[in-house]
Subunit: 559 residues, 2 copies
Amino acid sequence: MPNTAPSLRFVIVGGVAAGASAAARARRLDERASIAVLERGPDVSFANCGLPYFIGGEIRQRDALSVQTPQTLKALLNLDVRPSTEAVAIDRPNHRVQVRDLAGGTTSWMPYDRLLLAPGAVPVRPSLPGIDDPRILTLRSLGDMDRIKAAATSAAHVTVVGAGFIGLEMAEQLVRLGKNVTLIELADQVLPPLDRPMTQLIADELRRHRIDLRLSDRVVSFAATADTLVCHLASGTTLSTQLVILAIGVRPDTALARAAGLALSERGHLRVNDHLQTNDPHIYAAGDAIETTDLVTGTPSAVALGGPANRQGRHVADRIFRPAHTPPFPGVLGTAIVRVFNVAAGLTGWSEKRLRAAGRPFRTVTVNDNHHAGYFPGAKPLQLKLLWDPADGRVLGAQVSGLAGVDKRLDVLATALTGRLTIDDLAQLELAYAPPFGAAKDIVNLAGFAACNARDGLVTLVDALPADPAVQILDVRPPPLVQSHPLPVPHALNIPLGALRGRLGELDRARPVVTVCALGKSAYFAARILAQNGFQVTALAGGIRAHFDPLSPAKLPVP
Amino acid sequence: MPNTAPSLRFVIVGGVAAGASAAARARRLDERASIAVLERGPDVSFANCGLPYFIGGEIRQRDALSVQTPQTLKALLNLDVRPSTEAVAIDRPNHRVQVRDLAGGTTSWMPYDRLLLAPGAVPVRPSLPGIDDPRILTLRSLGDMDRIKAAATSAAHVTVVGAGFIGLEMAEQLVRLGKNVTLIELADQVLPPLDRPMTQLIADELRRHRIDLRLSDRVVSFAATADTLVCHLASGTTLSTQLVILAIGVRPDTALARAAGLALSERGHLRVNDHLQTNDPHIYAAGDAIETTDLVTGTPSAVALGGPANRQGRHVADRIFRPAHTPPFPGVLGTAIVRVFNVAAGLTGWSEKRLRAAGRPFRTVTVNDNHHAGYFPGAKPLQLKLLWDPADGRVLGAQVSGLAGVDKRLDVLATALTGRLTIDDLAQLELAYAPPFGAAKDIVNLAGFAACNARDGLVTLVDALPADPAVQILDVRPPPLVQSHPLPVPHALNIPLGALRGRLGELDRARPVVTVCALGKSAYFAARILAQNGFQVTALAGGIRAHFDPLSPAKLPVP
Ligand SMILES: Cc1cc2nc3c(=O)[nH]c(=O)nc-3n(C[C@H](O)[C@H](O)[C@H](O)COP(=O)(O)OP(=O)(O)OC[C@H]3O[C@@H](n4cnc5c(N)ncnc54)[C@H](O)[C@@H]3O)c2cc1C
Ligand SMILES: Cc1cc2nc3c(=O)[nH]c(=O)nc-3n(C[C@H](O)[C@H](O)[C@H](O)COP(=O)(O)OP(=O)(O)OC[C@H]3O[C@@H](n4cnc5c(N)ncnc54)[C@H](O)[C@@H]3O)c2cc1C
Ligand SMILES: CC(C)(COP(=O)(O)OP(=O)(O)OC[C@H]1O[C@@H](n2cnc3c(N)ncnc32)[C@H](O)[C@@H]1OP(=O)(O)O)[C@@H](O)C(=O)NCCC(=O)NCCS
Ligand SMILES: CC(C)(COP(=O)(O)OP(=O)(O)OC[C@H]1O[C@@H](n2cnc3c(N)ncnc32)[C@H](O)[C@@H]1OP(=O)(O)O)[C@@H](O)C(=O)NCCC(=O)NCCS
């Protein structure tokens, strides 16, 4: 007869990504454990990431967002899931949590052997004049979603504040609903985690869909009139709108942990060791509320994303129920992606701005290519920025934007970061190639080539055209392109790449040259010719992308 | 004044993938080198991989297949490219190649400092009775392509021999042209490099498009009549057809190398060291004609694919022109993919059959899931088979088939192989997730989970339902599915997963149990319940896939 006494009392605070994942895994590891999931909200185990798409109607069935319910979790996994139940205090010495039943209003104590805090994060709501207007909403739960969907029905104009991942998804979905949308972003770019040039495609796509994009601006106050809400912006502009969606970030929901004296980071995230254990060995933490380590550098890092939350929750169950077999949690990369209409962009690992801010040495290249063989119909343009450590060539991060295959390259690069691959490894990566799927040299290989070329001094890249009039600007594009899309500088000399070797005499050997083309490849070829002919030469990385039409299949310039 | 005397005479035999890549890179590394490319055929630098798609009309412009021409290679890279020119002998002691101008018929000697052999491979043409009929064609060059395209015009029925990558592409494209197609394959499966269960989706898709698929059969002779060609098959069947495409593999085109006394493998591939140098240090080799090392095991391996050929060619140029800066060629994985109508399949690294044949220890799991979050519209089913080394958990290979995202997972797994990642690493891989692109737990993560679960003894997987009547077969699918798609065995007991804990009494504790579901997940959940309740239990891996409809969005069974 199997032993049926509970092996361990496992209490989980938070019943969505990290919490529900921990509970599910715990049950598979231990049939006898007593597993309770406390969730303040009315719903558990729902797909937060799908919320914008139900608002916009792309996801049609609301119940598709409920991955599991308390009932299915009981039936399948024998979990004691308690929605509308808040953990209000932790009595650490006595290993018990104080629990409030939000429906009945009663409070009781629940003992635990192990406690998991998976409280997630809450949208930031800045204390601005007028912020309490009921037409200013945030999005985190199914309830928030219903409120926004209802409010959007009668709104002709909606203002989205914040052009991060959720703000962009909301802007897109609101356009889908036929709304006029203004999108306000404090930074001078959309998608602040990325480097600015890699967000250009997204910004263009927003504008192409008539989204009124206001960069380098912010709301300073709201004023309510009878039927509109007026947003006053820092730039002095005012904006009349019917609905405001605030999407300016989240903060960890760690008041309970703080009150219990658990160690928090400056930004309020729970501090955990590499087994996701807090400073109280009986209390674990996972998901948006924690700070873990960065996989690339080993420094502290807080990543508020669904994948890490799910795997961290599962990890905690492993750690509690089979500690001897559980390797340390490896840390996070911050791999993220967003789709905006026809384009996508994302990153993995470190960006240039983050490396600069941390004062870490790095080098970088940006390359352009098609998402699959250019000769096969439907090839779409793709741009990839790679960052690596000059000391050993190890990849530090990457960003990708384009019309197709963005997710694939990010995933390859995230895997490369996990495997600590170098730019030499990327150059030799053997990816799947048949014409509908890739190219004999994938853009990831090209990025590896270009990075090795830069490292090895075969080419010196510059990011902008020089202001110094002493530098000769050599445009190697074919003359028709030069005419239709002239360089935004005077005095550029046009010698098409194919004629360059015969026309070197037109250049002044005594003065430096910068070579320029559309996408960066011909400029590199030209720079190689000039360098070996005694010129002091640099090449404009990534090209001027002047005739780059993201909506038609890319054709790399035949120089 | 720069020095303009040639630095080195570099002669290249073969002007397509490996040869042209080496020439192009060599020029970028050295403006002064004399670089000659000898090509027997009339065309250089063409996209072999696109040939089937021009035949089928999916690629419309023939000149899209000419990536470069001798003229553009001259203009851009100052290369001396000689089409219709064959290297007929190598005088190794005197460092010279004998060259025949196939148009003029003249022969001359060309000196080299370094020679690259990139002769590629030729389609296998078995010596069967009747094989010389002009209606029996192979596909390797633009000329072959034109011949097949012309011959197909008047053919109502075409027979493709060989269901490997090229045979499948041809079969698909011929259907696109409205032909009746018979596809004959010696093995008992399509795509012989993959393990059989992973090719089922492709086989079904071929049949769904009315391709007459004949597995475990082969042509033994051809007989010509006035307007048809009769194929006699080993099975005794005969087949009347108008055109035969032979796609039964390639052999390295190394007669020239053999005559020159260079070291070849048993199968005729050029043997090279890890700098792609033959046993003559002045002679390098690259592409389909060589045997290099397997990246996973370090054993000899010949991979005839475009990506490796391009990168090997480039590597040889690096090795010759900047040897001090060139790391060893890392070896090959054999990452390959094919699209067949709406489905795709491919592999990277080692298959089960190859591991078995080599007597190498391995373990394996197969998992099923959606290609992106199931709650987001358009989710398509995907199947992934993972193989790993039981000694250290290192991934040895993977196969993927499905309707979308197959290439992405293969590329992630190829990168994982390059980084020598383990199944634990796959479980924690942080891939890009937003609903249109992935899932919080990608199928690659699931494969990692399932592999770790198998390794750690949380579940014992079986590949087939047991024949032994003493074993209890427990079907945990919901009753409606059991009724619509009954198990192909008698005496199965149906207890839906959600009711299992309450109905354990219906099972006999003295006899072993195998749990069964649709896709493998519920059977695993059920096995965990039974194992912890004292049962001796195994789970059917990958499920019975009985109600698996590859053409409708996958919905994992809600048990
Ligand atoms: C609109 C939106 C879109 C998103 N899109 C993506 C995406 O595309 N990709 C991606 O990777 N991630 C996305 N995310 C982020 C992802 O949803 C989160 O990273 C993930 O849900 C975090 O999981 P968690 O378990 O830490 O927190 P949550 O999922 O927020 O769950 C925490 C739960 O704990 C409960 N709780 C808190 N305190 C208590 C308490 N004291 N007592 C009881 N219960 C408590 C909360 O009510 C909450 O339900 C998105 C998020 C949102 C809101
Ligand atoms: C129909 C088809 C589809 C394919 N699809 C794919 C795919 O989807 N993905 C993929 O990765 N790969 C694919 N391949 C394989 C890929 O094309 C080859 O791996 C690649 O072309 C090999 O490059 P190579 O330079 O070694 O040989 P080749 O490209 O064959 O070039 C060798 C050249 O050398 C010439 N030559 C030989 N001997 C001499 C001599 N003595 N003198 C002068 N010239 C000589 C030959 O005429 C030939 O043109 C496909 C191949 C074919 C035929
Ligand atoms: C769904 C949820 C309750 C977790 O439940 P879960 O049972 O762990 O998750 P899944 O249904 O994905 O199943 C995963 C399990 O099945 C196994 N599995 C999945 N497919 C399998 C297959 N084909 N064969 C064998 N095993 C399989 C996995 O190994 C894993 O088991 P393990 O953890 O014991 O290794 C939780 O993740 C959740 O609430 N998610 C929604 C909220 C959320 O994630 N929000 C943020 C993103 S939108
Ligand atoms: C095309 C071919 C002649 C090679 O020429 P190539 O100039 O080396 O190749 P590409 O045009 O792809 O250019 C690659 C070069 O441009 C560079 N490059 C590409 N895009 C770049 C960008 N956006 N910025 C900077 N550099 C870039 C790469 O680094 C590489 O240079 P490197 O080798 O010096 O590092 C040869 O591959 C070929 O003949 N291919 C067709 C046949 C074939 O491959 N068949 C099998 C598959 S179908």
